[in-house]
Amino acid sequence: MSIESTLPILKPADFASDQDVRWCPGCGDYSILAQMKKVLPTLGVPREKIVFISGIGCSSRFPYYMNTYGMHSIHGRAPAVATGLKSSRPDLQVWVITGDGDGLSIGGNHLMHAIRRNVDLNIVLFNNRIYGLTKGQYSPTSPLGKKTKSTPMGAIDNPLHPLSIAIGCEATFVARSIDTNIKHLGDVLKRAAEHRGTSFVEVYQNCNVFNDGAWEYAKDRDTKEDTTLELEHGKPLIFGKERKKGIRLHGLDPEVVELGKGISEDDLLFHDEKATEPSLAYLLSRMRYEDGFPEPIGVFRAVDLPRYDQMANAQIEQAIKDKGKGDLEALFNSGDTWTVS
């Protein structure tokens, strides 16, 4: 993606479109929008080179509020639309905005294939564990037993874990953040933008109308240091208000340990976002609050691998090098021909 040298200095406000934002007052989407507007000016990419593609959902209204190019496409198909766009135009910075329903329910297959192709997209999944736009049915990330409009007796589908799936699909960049954790969210979005290949970011987002408090444990000022764990490359997994708790590996099972009492930082699991094999990232994606673990936030995995959009265009250049620029005249006259006079 070509970064121009001399650019007008842009401010967050320059990225606001003229449409008034239409989310419920108090929706977590506002904060994500705000962080996005803060991050974009720092990337040195001219506004006209940025495109936001979304599907359908509250979250998917996002592109209307950005003064960039954008498409509010159809339900679940944003990753495919973006794949076509980015493959044709590697010079553009392409963002995909999706939701837990849009991205994991109807759109799961496109998400999976965009990720495995490692198309250079930045995919942000707003996970509010509910269908917001359609007024509150359970989603693929809703917990078992969740009572919603369509599950009066509680959900009976095991929830999907967005990051586990992404890792199961050969993802090269996987990260997680939280709508209200403003600074962290900004940093993660920036890392995602900078990664070359598919960046997949899950954002814990609160739907205060249909699923209020779904992430309270990870957002509450008093509990969040104990319920979440900020990943740092090369650093041991430490968390807790007093940063006295850590994660140690016992065989292949992570366990929570108290530092001190004969356990030192070196005994802990160290994070390596660059590990070629994704086993660590996968293991981290399994750590869940309900099982007594802090939930990791930050960058789980970031490895540099060839990208579909780049290779597709490279093949075209190669073909031109090998066969010369296509010549219709020659093509039409190739093989057996005859003349009628």
Binding site: E48, H72, G84, A312, F332, V340
Partner: protein, 616 residues
Amino acid sequence: MATATPSKPVSELVEATVRFCGDSGDGMQLAGTQFTNTSALLGNDVATFPDFPAEIRAPRGTKAGVSGFQIHFSSTQIYTPGDTVDALVAMNPAALTTNIGDLRDGGILLVNKDAFDGKGLEQAGYATNPLEDGSLSKYKLHSVDMTRLTRLAVDGLGLSQKEADRCRNFFAMGLVFWLYDRSLEPTLRFIESKFGKLPGVAQANTNALKAGYNYGETVEAINTQYHVGPAKLKPGKYRNIEGNEAMAWGLLAAAQLSNKRMFLGAYPITPASDILHYLSNYKNYDVLTFQAEDEIAAITATIGAAFAGDMAVTASSGPGIALKAEAMGLAVMTELPMLIINVQRGGPSTGLPTKTEQADLLQALYGRNGECPMPVIAARSPGDCFYVAQEAWRIATRFMLPVMVLTDGYIANGSEPWRIPEISELPKIAIKHPDGLTNGDEFLPYERDERLSRPWAIPGTPGLEHRIGGLEKANITGNVSYDPINHEKMCHLRAQKVANVADDIPLQELDGAETGDLLVLSWGGPYGACATAVHTAQKAGKKVTHCHLRYINPFPKNLETILRNFKQVLIPELNLGQLSMIIRSKFLIDAISLNKIQGKPFSVSEIVTKINSLVA
């Protein structure tokens, strides 16, 4: 040698039809193709009909595994692969039973005697050996021990028996080449280029080919040779071309004529896959082919590429097109130019994947939610695909909308001589993308020109940043709008855009007088059968005219007048009356339908018979 003056009497024919048939493993498609090219090179007009078995290769020798290739070659202009066959080559009993019905009485029948053993006969369901029980007496039967002779011919080249037997089709070719006095040269060239790297195989095929030819020359039983002279085609340089190939080439031309990179989003499906295959091989024409995870991804990626500013194309067949329905709505709503190609096959559902049909017309017109109009144009023959592709892209870009292109399995797999156009003959396709706005003016993505089309502003252009999508758009500004009057206006506007295409396409032409007793109105694949049938009727002095539609939505402006100038209108279609339904509704004309839905094209005689029943 091929030019050696024949030692046997040669009888001149105006035209002839030959069919090679055998097991899928017997290389009949190759034999057919070679015979086609050779005849074309000789200046004949040709029309072919490859008939594949169901997708998966069935066990050797079974009826399900039979594959055929029919060639109609002539010294006059022809439009169809022919109703009946003058000479039939049957490589095994299964091929004989399934094909003998199409051989005309007195026709030449060449069979591989060696394949008529117990197992073979049983698989074909023969109680007794037809070569011996006299049941084939009404044909000129020649049972040739092709297997033995082929093995002899390749003896000493160190081939395994399996390999040796693979040369049988060349023996059969050689024999038929002699029978119709065709040169071996093109096939020898083909062998050289195809098997050059395997000298053994190349030599074996050459030997088999010549052995077959010499067999014809020498053996008494076959006592006459036939000759079909060159046809008077429009002067020019010609080649043989297949429908899907012509479609791919037409798309390449459209891209170059409009200075566009091409993006094809496709998911493999019979009989459309070859469009993907051809284009994947033309990367050096600046073509990016994307094999998507499914048809929905294929078209949505295509929409993304259209937004990006590419010449965006998606191609599929019935079931795949059904899956694209929702996304086509997005294409219509976003008013982006793109092509949606449907190579129709037998339906409904998975239906008859390898067979031809025209039953997706109403789906093309109405198979979407809401009022969701789209221009629809259809190719009439293999070579015509080349021009239809360019015309479709011209319309899509002039009017900023998706265009549906219809062909079918018969056109896609069939081939015909194609006059190679001068690139300079081909009309340029002018496309203008709005320039950037740096003066801070507001860009209006849904502002319209005289054709009602909106500007194609592409990402990367400063100052034109805008958002599009599937929710109803306010005219001019393109903002989301729930306004009732705007919605009604936009629905009419999208319809009017399509209607406006009628001002931009040629008036409908006729083959025959402008008034008369009967108008034969056709679209798509039946073109050839209808043209031939109408010519026959005209020669018989009947007041019959042929009107073949390329543009189905909108219709050419003069269509209504044309229709009203005839006492009767006959619409032959490979469906249960879909064009007919539109014509009746639009013009309240009591059109007569001739429907066939057997996975096969019309035969000329079927249409002639119908015409005769309508006009004495």
